[in-house]
Symmetry: C2
Subunit: 387 residues, 2 copies
């Protein structure tokens, strides 16, 4: 996350390499084209988050257009049919102990399924889209099968939950193993839509660099998950929650954050390498977080988050990004903190796969240069003559 104040508009920021350098083409997304807006294939993120289901957005990104009702029904059935896990994948998940980082679980699952059901060389794009749908459909299965097995010794029967209509309800049902309020499902849908795509961020760029060598899509996604794991990228929503939940009152939060800023600490969840005025997704997720906090009696958490937002604006002219209030919303739905970044995976898998398909059309290997800072050419000294 950048610490540059919003005043310095459109200048490349020192803490971000390649900022503003166009390294390829995309038809998927514009970020901040008119200051602080976000569009997926031309559709405004506000329209999508408020009026569409996540499955419509997934179809838009992976398959190219918004589906009509009949196509959407078929797509939902397809995703349901792809939620199963191959037996060998179940056995591998059982070998990962309870202390495993859930992002390592998804990274390993992706690599294993790529080993078990590999992509063909030079496949038709329809096959690659099938793989994208398989990964999208089965990530909740993989994460929560591992979770219940490693934490509770339970081998859950995935078939019991297979017919949940949406990815949002499937994930929440698998996690809680009982029905959840409709408002949670709607909130989860919106959150998944907001996280689905964001141009050439670090994890998407990783997927494209890997795809550029002609590698299979599983390799590209495995790498993207690794990149998203970092605290400067997808890991940010987990760090945001740890900050928010550490205060007993909004006043205590304000006092401490001001002190941290005086010590020049970076507060994760604020600012953005591309947006300069605000994050267009913040307004939507903040409203969702407020409502869920009221419904679940988590008002303190919301109030602390909102106060820190105010302090960051006043003190540093910095805005909350998507991660900040996502953390509040996820916590209200009873989601373990270290599942926050895996939820990002379950959404961004749509954008990543769409980018892999685009990179293959582009056909370029991505191979930059380095600035050399090491020793000048020097003579080789044979082993036994070295000090």
């Amino acid at each position: 996350m950048s610490t540059t104040p919003a005043a310095e508009h459109f200048k490349p920021k020192k803490s971000v390499a390649l900022s503003g350098v166009e390294v390829g083409n995309t038809a998927l997304c514009t970020v901040g084209q008119h200051g602080n807006d976000l569009h997926y294939r031309g559709y405004d993120i506000h329209d999508l988050a408020r009026q569409a289901s996540f499955e419509e957005v997934a179809y838009l990104l992976i398959h190219g257009e918004l589906p009509n009702r009949a196509t959407l029904n078929l797509y939902q059935q397809k995703l349901q049919s792809l939620r199963f896990l191959p037996k060998a994948a179940l056995r591998v998940l059982e070998k990962l102990p309870a202390h495993t980082h859930p992002m390592d679980v998804l990274r390993t699952y992706t690599s294993v399924i790529g080993a078990l059901m590999p992509e063909r060389e030079n496949p038709p794009v329809a096959e690659t889209r099938d793989i994208a749908d398989k990964l999208l459909a089965s990530y909740p299965s993989a994460l929560l099968y591992w979770y219940h097995f490693s934490h509770h010794g339970l081998k859950i029967n995935l078939e019991t939950y297979q017919n949940e209509p949406t990815q949002a309800s499937y994930f929440l049902r698998l996690l809680h193993r009982h029905a959840v309020p409709e408002s949670w499902i709607r909130a989860m849908q919106a959150s998944l839509i907001l996280y689905a795509e964001h141009e050439f961020n670090a994890s998407t760029f990783t997927a494209r660099v890997i795809a550029g060598t002609g590698a299979d899509i599983f390799s590209a996604i495995t790498g993207a998950i690794g990149a998203l794991r970092g605290p400067k990228h997808g890991g940010a929503n987990e760090v945001a929650f740890r900050i928010q939940s550490s205060y007993s009152s909004p006043d205590a939060a304000e006092q401490d954050i001001i002190q941290r800023l005086q010590r020049k600490e970076v507060i994760i969840g604020f600012g953005h390498p591309v947006y300069t005025i605000s994050d267009p997704r913040n307004e939507i997720i903040k409203q969702i977080a407020r409502q869920l906090a009221e419904e679940t009696g988590q008002q303190l958490l919301f109030q602390v988050a909102e106060r820190i937002e105010k302090v960051m604006k006043e003190q540093k002219n910095m805005f909350a990004n998507l991660d900040w209030f996502s953390a509040v919303a996820y916590h209200c739905m009873g989601i373990p903190t270290d599942f926050f970044t895996p939820l990002f995976v379950m959404s961004r898998i749509t954008g990543w796969c769409a980018h892999v398909i685009e990179q293959r059309i582009d056909g370029k290997i991505i191979r930059p240069s380095a600035h050399y800072t090491g020793p000048a050419p020097r003579p080789f000294i044979p082993l036994d003559e070295r000090r």
Copy 2:
């Protein structure tokens, strides 16, 4: 691999994105600084390949300097002690069927070991170097345990081979399960040295993009393996062998290659995105391949490869890169073709890890931009109104 003739020196090549763009600092390597030379931390690749062992070069890259005799002895002992595999990793490897791509085996192994023995957050660099040494030491164990189990139903006892003095002899012994000629071990050493490091190539750049988000080193290496898997990158040496082994004589090869060039086909194993005159590693690996071919009665393979090299020079003014004669050398040592790229991993792991350590010092997230080619902003049409 580029198809640009050598005449167009130093022009960015269309088929390579970011060519010539400096995206970070490195003290590890210069590629073609004076036309067609290669240095690791200031040492000429010719000196290293002819006078050093692979362990000396691994130590140079990961730990910073060439070791003296005492340090080298300790380092070899350390690598021997790190060759074991955790039990859970053995069980996972047993779940990967015989048809698994060996690169998928190494990708999965890296992800699994990162799940089982994760890197701490913000670790001291010494701990990251220990992980680098662990991966370096254990890749032959992982690949060949899986190989003998899935192909021959054998659970090999890794301890039997643990005291082999070098990575080269450990790999060859584990593969063949009997002693191999000293000339093979020396050839393998040189080959591992030649493949160890090459600046900001696509897989190394992948590792750096992942490391730039603050992710753990296992995530970075898992992604790098995925990138290396592509036929435009590490997969090239496998493709090269498939070309070389398809001809019954040098004349037949010449005839067919000329026809392919007339059809504008790309011949993998020739040209390079950075070198423009020749690949400095070619001379070394060609000499090794010639000698091994004589010793093992594979002269036809070498003669075909050499004839194609001549044709490519005459017809297209293109030079053989490292992959071309590596393919001949590996085949002469009885290495299955789909282990060629995994051998690249077993060597390049040294450069990758050194780059991850450098990227962390750099401290930058890598986040480029895209050129948008998609639809203009358009109104959202509710589901039931869509065609």
